[in-house]
Symmetry: C2
DNA sequence: ATTGTTAGTGTATGTATGACACCACAATAG
DNA sequence: CTATTGTGGTGTCATACATACACTAACAAT
C-alpha cells in the first residue's frame, strides 16, 4: 500500500489519515467540564470539537497529542494517556480519518485559555450541557467519561484535578462529582488515609466560612494503582 | 495535510501509514500461547510477527482486524477488542507506521492453522518461549498479556478460551495459567457459582482417569463485568 | 479388591465495608 | 461578647466477604 518513503521524513501513502484528539477534563463550579474549541471554517463551521489535529510524520502519538494540545489550546505540559482509537468511516465528512483520542485531567485554575489557530472560541463546557459537536466527538467524550469513572475508583488519577495542596473535603467532592453519587465522609477519609495516597501538608485552608481544614498533598503525583472504592 | 479525496474510496495523504495487528491468545498444553506468523521476505525475513496488515480505506479498524486475521491466519469469526495503538517512530524500518493492536482469546481446538499469503509459517507459540520477533511485536504481546491478566479478574473474558461445555477444574486451570498463581479450589468454585456466570450443563466429563466432573456452560458468551478475584 | 487420581464439599477466622451522629473550631451577625 | 451558622473531624458496630484449610466420593486401571 505504501507508495514512497523519503528519509527526510515525508511519505505518501494511500489509506486513512491519522489524527489525535485531546479530551481534557476539569472541575469548575462543582461540575465536570471538558475543553472545547469552536470551529471557524469548513463544513463544521460553528460547531464545537475537541482540540485535535493531524499526526506529523515524525512524531509519536504521545508527542503529537502534547504538541497539538499546546498549539490548538495553549495548554503546555499536560500529560495525557491514550484513550481509544476511533475509526468510523463517516466520522469526518471531509475524508477518511482515524483518530486516536487522548485524555487528561487538569486543574483549570492552572491554565488560562486562549483561542488559537483558526478556531473562533475556546471554552470549558459542562459535560451535562454540551453544545452541538462536530465529528464523533460527543461519543469520544462519553467514552472518556466512562473510563474516568472506572479509573478514579482504582487509581489516584484524581490528583490531576487538584492543586498541590487540598483538603480531604475537596478531594471527596471530586469523587462525588465524577461518580455522581454521595460518599460517606468518615468512610472516605478512613479509606484515603489508610491507602497512604495522601499525606498531611503543613498549614490549614483558612478563609472559609467555618473551621479551617487540614491541607494534604498527594504522596505521588503520578498514576498509581489504589483500590479506593 | 490531506491531498486528495476520491469518493470512490481512495485518498492520498501525507502522514503515518496505518496498520492493525492482531494478538490472539490461546491455551495449549497448560501454557498460554500466541498466534504468530513467520515473515517470508523483506527486511524482517525469518522473524516472527503478529498477524497484521494495512487498514483499507473503506474499513473501520474492527472490520480491518477481523478481515486481516482471516486473510493472514485463516481464523474466521473471531471477535476482538481494541488493545492499544502503537506509534514509535522506528517501529517499522520500512517507513512510518502506526499500528492499532487488537486482541482476542480463542479455543485453539476450534481452529486449524493454515499458512497464507506470503508468510512461510504460522504457529501457536508459548508466551514464555517467544522467538525473535519483528517490529515492536514483543512489546505488544507483553502489553496484551498485562491487559489480559487484569481483565480476567473482573470480567468473564475467559469464555473465549474454553469450549461450550467445560468443567470447573478446567476453568480454574485457565485462571491459574493466566494469573500465574495457584487458586484455592473451594473458594474458586464458591465464587464462580455465586456470581452466576456459569450454569450446569447436562452431562459429565467422562473418559478422564478419575471421577467424572460436572459440565458447565457460560450463561453469557459475551463480555460481562464480574468481580471474580 | 486395591490403588491412584481428580471431583466435590463446609467451617471457622480474620478483614473490609457500610451505616450512622456528635463535638470542634472558626467566621459572622446581632 | 454572645449566639448562630457552617464545615471539619472523629469511632463503633454489624454485616459481608475473603481466606485458609482436609476429607470423602466416584471412577479408571491394575
Amino acid at each position: 500500500m505504501k507508495i514512497k518513503n523519503n528519509p527526510d521524513s515525508a511519505q505518501l501513502i494511500i489509506g486513512p489519515a491519522l489524527a489525535v484528539d485531546t479530551l481534557i477534563f476539569t472541575i469548575r463550579e462543582g461540575k465536570l467540564n471538558v475543553l472545547l474549541i469552536k470551529i471557524g471554517s469548513g463544513p463544521y463551521q460553528g460547531k464545537w470539537a475537541l482540540p485535535g489535529g493531524i499526526v506529523p510524520i515524525n512524531e509519536t502519538l504521545d508527542e503529537a497529542a502534547r504538541n497539538i494540545l499546546e498549539k490548538k489550546a495553549g495548554l503546555k505540559g499536560v500529560y495525557m494517556e491514550q484513550l481509544y482509537t476511533f475509526s468510523g468511516v463517516a466520522r469526518d465528512v471531509r475524508g477518511r480519518m482515524v483518530s486516536v483520542a487522548y485524555f487528561a485531567l487538569v486543574d483549570s485554575d492552572q491554565f488560562a485559555l486562549k483561542t488559537m489557530d483558526y478556531y473562533t472560541d475556546i471554552q470549558w463546557r459542562a459535560l451535562d450541557h454540551l453544545p452541538r459537536m462536530a465529528f464523533d466527538h460527543k461519543e469520544i467524550i462519553q467514552y472518556g467519561f466512562a473510563r474516568l469513572q472506572a479509573k478514579i475508583e482504582y487509581t489516584n488519577i484524581a490528583y490531576g484535578l487538584l492543586p498541590a495542596e487540598f483538603t480531604l473535603s475537596e478531594l471527596q467532592a471530586v469523587y462525588e462529582i465524577i461518580l455522581e453519587r454521595a460518599l460517606d465522609k468518615r468512610n472516605f477519609r478512613k479509606k484515603i488515609l489508610a491507602l497512604g495516597i495522601v499525606q498531611t501538608a503543613k498549614g490549614l485552608r483558612r478563609g472559609g466560612v467555618s473551621r479551617p481544614a487540614q491541607l494534604y498533598r498527594f504522596t505521588q503525583r503520578s498514576l498509581m494503582l489504589a483500590q479506593i472504592l
